[in-house]
Symmetry: D2
Subunit: 402 residues, 4 copies
């Protein structure tokens, strides 16, 4: 039932915010990361603006100012509060945002329970829930970024994290490629950027059986990987030379030697068995070159992923313990060498809702799979995540290809 699913997804956002204080939910550590309170409000704004406003006969906004305050980037809806100032919105309070959620939820449920929802409504509600799931992942990565700026290194998740057993050696699995169909097959939900399904020629290739581990990446660092310009894209080397890139984002050299990693469980000694995460495309690409490999294209990745199972998540990516093609989902988003571009024949939806994907198809690179922070039921083989090449605060990782 759609209304059950609605309630489950909406409930999940509250659970994610539960370990956080009002102050934790209000602060913003960089323009790219939003406060948790803002995520909670913006996902609600989506339902209010795109569904209730059109469907309620005597629609009254919960608060007139919210239309501007919680608009992310929809020019078609009107003006937006400046992104970099989201952390200054100490009002409305978190309590008021809870009230906003309750109000919109009640009205949405009234709409959904008023009879079997028509196809257009069901489609919009599903889009709104998928949208909220994307923000659930951002809630975790954004608050991790915030907490990492605090010298006290607070824990989001009070439970500890055990050291994992060593994974199996990395193997390259062979794939035939050929003239293949790429894109969503029409069963279940997909974002517009996964469409249309279309033909693409893929030469034979090999893909690594698992992600690169912390231990393997440490070997790259110790071999001078960050000191050899020949391994790097020119833009990446500029960032290395300026000191912006020197190790994955949350790694810290410990005073006595060795490395620690800041996680949602707090700062812990680096676990060599777990996958390396929080690195830029520049670093993923340099590692691959050093390892005599390369990053996959998104078409290659999708060919292979049809065979892979969806694995469970958590607050930090786990080690690869099985044989075969593992960690395609549920550990780290995997950088590809493919820039984010429209598929041949791509057409965005009309109106403001069409601003969802297409207008961002420039200077970004596609990541495939899903991460430990991706909500259950949100991952699929045709899913296209995308970020600029320098992005590190997401759970990004390295899948090698040849």
């Amino acid at each position: 039932m759609l209304s059950d699913h609605f309630q489950a997804v909406r409930q999940r956002s509250l659970q994610l915010a539960a370990p956080l204080s009002n102050e934790d939910c209000c602060a913003q550590s960089m323009p790219d990361a939003s406060p948790v309170k803002w995520h909670l409000a913006h996902t609600t704004w989506f339902f209010e603006t795109f569904i209730l406003e059109a469907r309620e006969s005597n629609f009254t906004p919960f608060h007139t100012a919210f239309r501007v305050l919680f608009n992310s980037y929809y020019n078609g809806v009107g003006p937006k509060h400046p992104r970099a100032q989201r952390g200054l919105l100490t009002r409305p309070s978190l309590d008021e945002v809870w009230a906003y959620r309750l109000d919109v939820d009640a009205r949405m449920l009234r709409l959904l329970d008023a009879g079997s929802p028509d196809a257009a409504l069901a489609e919009l509600v599903t889009l709104g829930l998928q949208h909220e799931q994307q923000h659930q992942e951002l809630m975790l990565t954004d608050v991790k970024h915030l907490l990492a700026h605090n010298p006290i290194a607070p824990r989001y998740d009070g439970e500890g994290m055990r050291l994992e057993a060593a994974p199996l050696p990395l193997q390259f699995l062979e794939f035939d490629g050929g003239l293949v169909e790429i894109g969503h097959d029409g069963r279940g939900f997909a974002f517009d950027n996964e469409l249309p399904r279309h033909r693409s020629y893929v030469a034979p290739f090999a893909l690594a059986s698992r992600l690169v581990t912390n231990g393997e990446y440490l070997a790259f660092i110790e071999a001078g990987g960050y000191r050899d310009a020949a391994l790097w894209l020119a833009e990446g080397w500029d960032k290395v030379a300026s000191g912006e890139l020197a190790a994955p984002l949350y790694w810290r050299r410990m005073d006595g030697g060795g490395w620690a990693e800041f996680t949602l469980h707090g700062e812990l000694p680096l676990d060599p068995a777990r996958p390396v995460t929080h690195l830029s495309l520049y670093e993923a690409d340099a590692y691959a070159r050093w390892a005599g490999a390369r990053l996959p294209t998104e078409a290659e990745w999708e060919c292979a992923a049809r065979l892979a199972g969806i694995e469970a998540g958590g607050a930090h990516p786990g080690a690869a313990l099985a044989a075969g093609l593992t960690q395609m989902f549920g550990a780290c988003w995997q950088w590809t060498s493919s820039s984010y571009a429209p598929y041949a024949g791509y057409a965005p939806a009309p109106g403001a809702i069409g601003e969802y994907n297409g207008k961002f198809m420039i200077n970004q690179y596609v990541l495939r799979g899903s991460s430990c922070a991706t909500p259950g039921g949100h991952a699929r083989a045709s899913y296209r995540n995308f970020f600029p090449a320098g992005t590190r605060w997401q759970f990004t990782g390295i899948r090698l290809a040849r």
Copy 2:
């Protein structure tokens, strides 16, 4: 009794924070403005670091991380948390900072009540309380700056603010000047920058009987004051030309015409009778030139101020209702044309405590008097406040001279 005074001043900080939520106390709207929580902690840190640490036999810090987190700028004490990141300190929570205050207050009172405090201790405690009073003023101006960034325009003080009656016409009062003594006379507390008392020659001058009002400043705007380069210092004109300066900081043109002003009582129609406030030295100087006058030097101001009474404050400056020399204190800090420089013979205190004033004596200008936000008992004729010429978030105003 010093311990009574200690309790009164410390209590006043809590009262100032009372109308604010945890989120309001945590956010930071610009690097120059600190979160209220940070002010509450830093003023406590001052007592812990400069008094308890030296005086308690078995001193243990309340929290080891606080020494760095709540150090403002004392290099002699060690490293500092980056100023621009104070708003990211969602932990410690406001509750923990309350606990920190209670703990330090209890230990301070134990020290003060253990017998009559020696002169050095009394002096340091007094310095700490004067320091806290300075931060009490900043708590109000910093939170005003934060709330002004919120499109909802929240009120700090829920009470309204009435329109004032028109003040008496501005008059210029004549002063003889001559070879005068400038600086603190040694009765009561003074900061080191008010010392030593020294001789200075002041030519005869005239000083305005009151501050420039909103109504008068509006006439300057309407006469094209912000469009005539000949009125401005070159640096100021650059800021006008780039759009950075176009009206006092918290003035907004209303949709239907006319002006509103954001105050701690919320956004209100501009009151022509009240003094214009929240403007830069550039604007004060341009207005004075337009009015055929100039800004006073700090020596001129101090000569005149010896005759003036100390007036009461509030959440916004009130109009000048009496005759004679008014509004020298309790309304707006008054820009002078004097750069902030050491008095002849100035010597800072030894050690970290000596970093209080002297190292800031560059590229700043002296403001004299006090503002509506200055705590009672903190103002005096020899007091030297100082800010860079572009500063606008303090309660600054214009006193003309000739």
Copy 3:
């Protein structure tokens, strides 16, 4: 004969510099554009560093400092003079750079005339000449950018430029696509980024018969193209909103109405028949969306280009006067929607010479064809030019696809 070709290409650089003064050759208008003198020296440095140094038995550099001064971006060769400071190199003088060229030319000719050059030498010399031809195009676009900053609007080419006759209406020509071979076919020279030739699937498509004209682009502007966010990529709209993009780079609104365009022939009234040029990928993409079309992929472009003739250049692109597929070469470089990425199986050359292309394959977009400023003999169907999406100082234009 290779030595004849060497002399012809080297001579061409001098001819391009002939209309310029010593000062014109020394100045640098932005970090991306280099002084003409620097181009003249750097192309010489290429032969000295990669050929003479390895081949001359008792090699002595012409000037020891030149190895650093005229290194563009080859980390393998050693340190580089900062790019943004090339315009401060008033020494060596232009005369000294002429002497440098004469000396290296003489030594190169001695090497080439000493017997039939071996294949490796012939390949390096050819690479050096192709490299110099690329810089010949940059000499024109860089000096155009410099002269355009001068309010006097100096002419590079003293001859006038006549208004062109109206071109034929733009038609869409249909192509079958299919599983095609893309990349250089091995006949004649190619850069490494054109290799290896590989299979790609291209769906049926249509390509415009000619480039978009100034007149057509003006209609886009007058229809509010720069005011409608829905037409733009998000990054492009940010630049429109900030005022960075408002018309093609060298267009100026004339005082009495209408538009002028700065050209190498000076500032002239806009010619509606000539192709629009000097615009970013953002603008090309927005225009295409407004026109109900899109930009081609580089594979589509290459499929079609095999049928096109190479047209002649000049100091400004001419109008399309013939029927059929025109202006593929010799008018404007054509933005594609393809990001600059390695072809499947791409491998750069070993050593410093391998830094030529591969390390720039990030955050750039492919342009195909050639421009009026491209030297004769330098264009081919497989040629891949590339620039960041915001680049405007090259002769860029718009080819529509569907």
Copy 4:
């Protein structure tokens, strides 16, 4: 005779440019420094705009564009070419600027020789010549800054520079101070900022007999002067911490140890006997604090300077070889602790010419004396030079006081 003086000063500018190439005269190394060609044209523009335009009956400008191109900062005259783009003006050529000078000189001499000039004309011509002398000093300091950016380290003056003999030990000479008259006494020319002469009270003080030498400043560096925050103004320490300040501007550590200094005679081993030069107010102030002294106020300096002789200049400051109060003039400008502010009663001239001084009286500090680069006849005891505290490309030095 005024016309003789006119010719002599104008001729001097040409002599200063003689050792430079056209390219040297065109380039600009930072926004604060202008090309020599621009100085040659701007000083000519001053005579054309402020004198010929008003005095010639049928005035025709030499070139209509020059009114904008060579306006420095006079808003009253109209728009200005952007300061940071002066180096892009490759046209007009240096030859055309010579022609501009010849034309204006001829017209000026016709005016001056047409009969005895009236007082207003004589005053304006004198102002124009004093203005040109200021730019003569800037021509040297600006071209020095440019040449210092060239790794080849070219010489402006081909002659060598000998090591100087050790100066006498630095002594502090006592002065009585008292109620003194400060400002120009009316004999000969003065800028408006030296007026009006007025009374000021100066407490007794002592002034160093000579400037601080390179050798003495080296001792400060070696004693850790750039590592001890307690010695620095807060703003200065920020620049030290960021690496912006680490030694005087043109000092370089040599590969084998020791220091070299870039001079107009090329790069030479540091001469310990010559005065330290090219340092900021921050460095001068920190050195003084380290040395147990302070910088003088401008009133103190002027009191003392009335007794001092004017010494000769050169391309680099020489050592102090005499006894008594030396190097007040002709070696280095001396930082004072006085901010640049109007004297009591200061009134700028009416009209655009009044923009000369007053509008810069903010966030700058007064330097007194003159430097080796100051033209003969331009120095006097009441002269007030002024620059921001971070300025280093002028010949600045340290005079201690107590």
